[in-house]
Amino acid sequence: MQMKRRTFAKTLMAGAGLIAAPRLITKASAADPFKAAWIYVGPVGDFGWSYQHDQGRKAVEKALGDQVKTAYVESVPEGADAERVLRELASAGNKIIFATSFGFWQPALKVAKQFPDVKFEHATGYKRAENLATYNIRFYEGRYIQGVIAGKMSKSGIVGYIGSVPIPEVIMGMNAFIQGMRTVRPDARIKMVMINAWYDPGKEADAAKALLDQGADIIAQHTDSPAPLQTAHERGVKGFGQASDMIKFAPDTQLTSSIDHWDEYYVSRVKAAMDGTWKSGDVWDGLKAGMLKMAPYMNMPDDVKALAEKTEAGIKSGEIMIFMGPMKAQDGTVKIKEGQMLDDGAIAGMDWLAEGVEGQLPK
């Protein structure tokens, strides 16, 4: 990885040198492409998180054609290394840079200060600056729909949920899932396993097996590989994909999948940066804005499909509010009162498991 990036940086520098020379003579002509760059925490080949971001980058290239020139650096570790990569990209003439992992917030903040003319965007973050915007997707909306489907499809009423790490993002997904599931099946339960990794196909498959052995008959996952779906297929039960449409891996198993859809967001932000209308801010959108899409509802009876579609429409129209009270925590304490709704701040910092979720969070 180290070598990959170094070679990349070198090419970048050489490229910048070549472009700089003629520019002295012609000044900036209209044909000069606008440069945009992305950094990813994982490989673009993960078929999950980083893969979807790269799809967004490709969408920008497609939409804006010759007007833009995009670059990306994959598998960038969160921390000091990210700072160096961001600085290199900014020095190389990129006018807008997307940092696509939570752990990039500090480097992004630092480098944004040093390059006031460059626009920075940080996915899933909360620290902003004049030239540093944040953006995220309301993934939990998709989880709620999955919960409704699971409530209809499960015989045992137990869902096996493979989590990655106990952070608010994962917890809010689980709570939204059980909230949705209990609307159709009040005794529904989630059995969860945290594998402490975002990506480990072998372990994800093992976790799915363990959960199925313990009585779950639907598999949901907040990890990035299609391995749990494959396991569900092997065992003849249904499951949900993650981040991208994984139907190819499990044609008769995947019920649906919440698909991260960064395409339009990236296109609109790069466009805004090009024509000077770009402003810092925070975007946290979901189904309504099209940042979250549901893969086709498959492998379920028509009435369940209709219910799923109705739920999706309800979330889009605002008729269904997911974290609407009453909602209780595991131990029965009321977390959201009847008629109350959780605000975005409280959702973003969620650190309690809802009633119906079995398993423990580290204290």
């Binding site: 990885m1 180290q2 070598m3 990959k4 490989p43 080949g45 993960d46 078929f47 893969y51 096996g160 106990p166 059995k191 969860m192 396993v193 945290m194 594998i195 402490n196 990794a197 990506y199 480990d200 196909p201 072998g202 372990k203 994800e204 498959a205 093992d206 976790a207 097996k209 363990a210 959960l211 199925l212 052995d213 313990q214 009585g215 590989s225 299609p226 391995a227 494959q230 092997e234 991208s244 190819k248 891996f249 499990a250 079995e358 398993g359 423990q360 580290p362 204290k363």
Partner: protein
Amino acid sequence: MNGFELFTSVALSVISASTPLLLAATGELVTEKSGVLNLGVEGMMLVGAVIGFAVTLGSGSATLGIVAAALAGTAMALVFAVLTLTLLTNQVATGLALTIFGIGLSALVGAGFVGQPLQPLPKLVLPGLSTLPVIGPILFGQDALVYLSFAALIGVSWFLRKTHAGLVLRAVGDSHDAAHAIGYGVIKVRYLATLFGGAMCGIAGAYFSLAYTPMWAENMTSGRGWIALALVVFAAWRPARLLLGAYLFGGITILQLHIQGFGIAIPSQFVSMLPYLATIVVLVAISSDRTRVRLNTPACLGRAFNAAG
């Protein structure tokens, strides 16, 4: 699910978690017994995984895929062997480089295969026996690579202890100067042992991309190659103990997932740590008896041999 079914199912999970470790560690054990320390296990596994996947997808034959994976692992090992045995580079540094190289190479080769599904490796079914309760699916319903992992281990154990060639290999690993003086081809033996290790790692990789999780994804072995390396030390270079180690590790990996699923109040970070903790505990226990460790450790492990010097 009744008790028997649960037991069968858990046993099957343990077997699939342990098999790739056993395959790779068996290969590495032979390599190390000849005095060569190849830290490139992870890299060789990944290259085996991607080549095995590509060939199986292209040809439709898993057998061809497994053979290709073995050859790919061998090719990686050959690079290592040429560098360390012929050009006398440092084995530790070269092995680390081989792993990094393997991660990058497999990602490059595999770029086009991301997101492609594949039928899992078929289970070999023996009519009558495979349908027996509990022991049927465990003993007679596995895929070919599971049987291969046992066959290879037994073969290696027999080879090292009972055959003349095995004795030569151990002699080369214990004292390359003495072996050379008697007239054995130290470099040749080490080449062969290294290539065998590469082939086994390639097959272990194929187990990932064809059977364990039938797909190709970058870095899909997620560090199992390092575990295999540790298992060889854990086993004190003895095949029987390697089997124990691989299944202990696989077993605890599965057990910790069950502990979490049952909602037992132990932090998930701690249970994720258990397999590694167990490895360290056993390592310490074994190492406490120094003479026995010394008896089994190849004395020339990691040391370059130069016939001219």
